[in-house]
């Protein structure tokens, strides 16, 4: 127990990094994902083409590789990020692609009749999107978004590769130093707690949207 209280501060500070990556990615990548998802449903071919390549790159290569490219690769062409900014940039790029795919699916699930019905009522495109389409899409995509959110909690551990001190790394350091698995056990418990909170929040949200079908 003594040992636990001894290593807990460093684990908690690592958790801070994990949470920081997590929240900023969610806050920025979800709205971006909606925009890119909308872009995928337009009939403007060059745009959908570019987006498809982007999504293919982001989903087709490991996030770990993307982190390495952003931090070690981009400086070659003169774009230099701080470690933390590099991590955030890579996570946002990667997760926007996944969210965009989810939103595209959600958007395509809305029947054409809903748009036509809004059109004969003379609602503008923006009004239709805001009042009719997005609320329905949110409900449809919530379970899939939830999946990605949980993934993100764990994916954030990849930032160790560019030398950021997150939760997993804090545990790793303590394990190597003290030659015991106890820190890793604690790390596992903390991840479980974090994902448990996410799960609860997502359940709440789904229940919130269950007032209509």
């Amino acid at each position: 127990m003594n040992y636990v209280t001894q290593i807990l501060p460093s684990l908690l500070s690592g958790t801070g990094m994990t949470l920081s990556i997590f929240f900023w990615t969610i806050i920025i990548a979800i709205p971006l994902g909606i925009l890119v998802g909308l872009g995928m449903t337009t009939r403007f071919k060059p745009l959908t083409w570019i987006i498809n390549i982007y999504v293919w790159l982001m989903r087709g290569t490991p996030l770990l590789l993307q982190l390495i490219f952003v931090f070690y690769g981009l400086p070659i062409i003169g774009i230099v990020f701080q470690r933390y900014d590099a991590a955030l940039f890579a996570f946002i790029l990667n997760y926007t692609a996944y969210f965009a795919e989810i939103f595209r699916g959600g958007l395509q699930a809305i029947p054409a009749g809903q748009y036509e019905s809004a059109r004969v009522l003379r609602l503008t495109k923006w009004q239709t999107l805001r009042k009719i389409v997005i609320p329905q899409v949110v409900k449809i995509v919530l379970p899939s978004i939830g999946n990605e959110v949980i993934n993100l909690v764990k994916d954030s551990s990849l930032v160790y590769v560019i030398g950021l001190g997150d939760l997993l790394r804090a545990g790793n350091v303590a394990m190597a130093r003290d030659v015991t698995l106890v820190p890793m056990l604690l790390v596992g418990v903390i991840y479980l707690l974090l994902t448990a909170v996410c799960t609860l929040v997502l359940k709440r949200l789904e229940r919130h949207y269950s007032f209509w079908r």
């Binding site: 009749g113 036509e116 019905s117 059109r119 004969v120 009522l121 003379r122 209509w212």
Partner: protein
């Protein structure tokens, strides 16, 4: 009064509507009948601006207008879709008031008052706070009618209003449509249900499939 002059519509080389001419007097009911695939719904979609025409002209009260781009004037055409297309995420009242508040810029209060008046008129007074999934087919259709009426259309179009209803509900739609005619609303009804069409029509247009 709505006039169609020489309306022609093609889909990939196939002529669906060939030189359609018709006139609907104010406050009258025009039924468009014919077998499936004859272009009834296409004609309705052209009139309501959901499809463009290849040639021909629309006149509303003698003024030419293009339904497909008709947004800012008040020459509105309301549509009751075959599958109603209510907005599932909004209550009955919100379905009705959405466009009046956002497009006609009515105050929420005024829009709500009018919605409640129209809903009561169509026997939906106690359904205002329900969501579409909580309604029966006939009720959904009446909500769709109220939603269209709340925009004060000059013309109300129905696409196959009886196709999804029980036989005894057909009578009900018939009465609603006739009641709206008594109030002076001009209506166009697309249907393949001949007895229904005959019961409500002031005027009937028969369309046949083209080869």
């Amino acid at each position: 009064m709505l006039e169609l002059k020489g309306i022609t519509k093609k889909f990939g080389g196939k002529t669906i509507l060939d030189d359609v001419n018709l006139t609907v007097e104010d406050g009258k009911i025009l039924t468009i009948v014919g077998p499936s695939g004859a272009g009834k719904t296409t004609l309705l979609r052209c009139i309501s601006g959901l499809a463009s025409v290849d040639s021909g002209q629309f006149l509303l009260d003698g003024q030419p207008f293009d339904p497909a781009t008709n947004r800012d004037n008040d020459a509105v055409i309301g549509v009751v879709f075959q599958d109603y297309q209510l907005f599932p995420n909004l209550t009955v009242r919100q379905n009705v008031t959405l466009a009046p508040t956002m497009v006609l810029k009515q105050s929420t209060q005024a829009a709500n008052a009018e919605a409640d008046r129209l809903l009561t008129q169509l026997d939906l007074g106690d359904k205002a706070d329900l969501f579409p999934y909580e309604l029966s087919g006939g009720q959904k259709q009446r909500v769709a009618i109220v939603r269209a009426l709340a925009m004060h259309p000059k013309l109300l179009c129905y696409d196959e209003p009886t196709s999804a209803l029980d036989p005894d509900l057909r009578k009900e739609v018939e009465q609603i449509i006739l009641k709206l005619r008594d109030e002076g609303i001009t209506q166009i009804v697309v249907t393949h249900d001949m007895p229904f069409a005959k019961a409500i029509a002031d005027q009937m247009l028969r369309v046949e499939p083209k080869n």
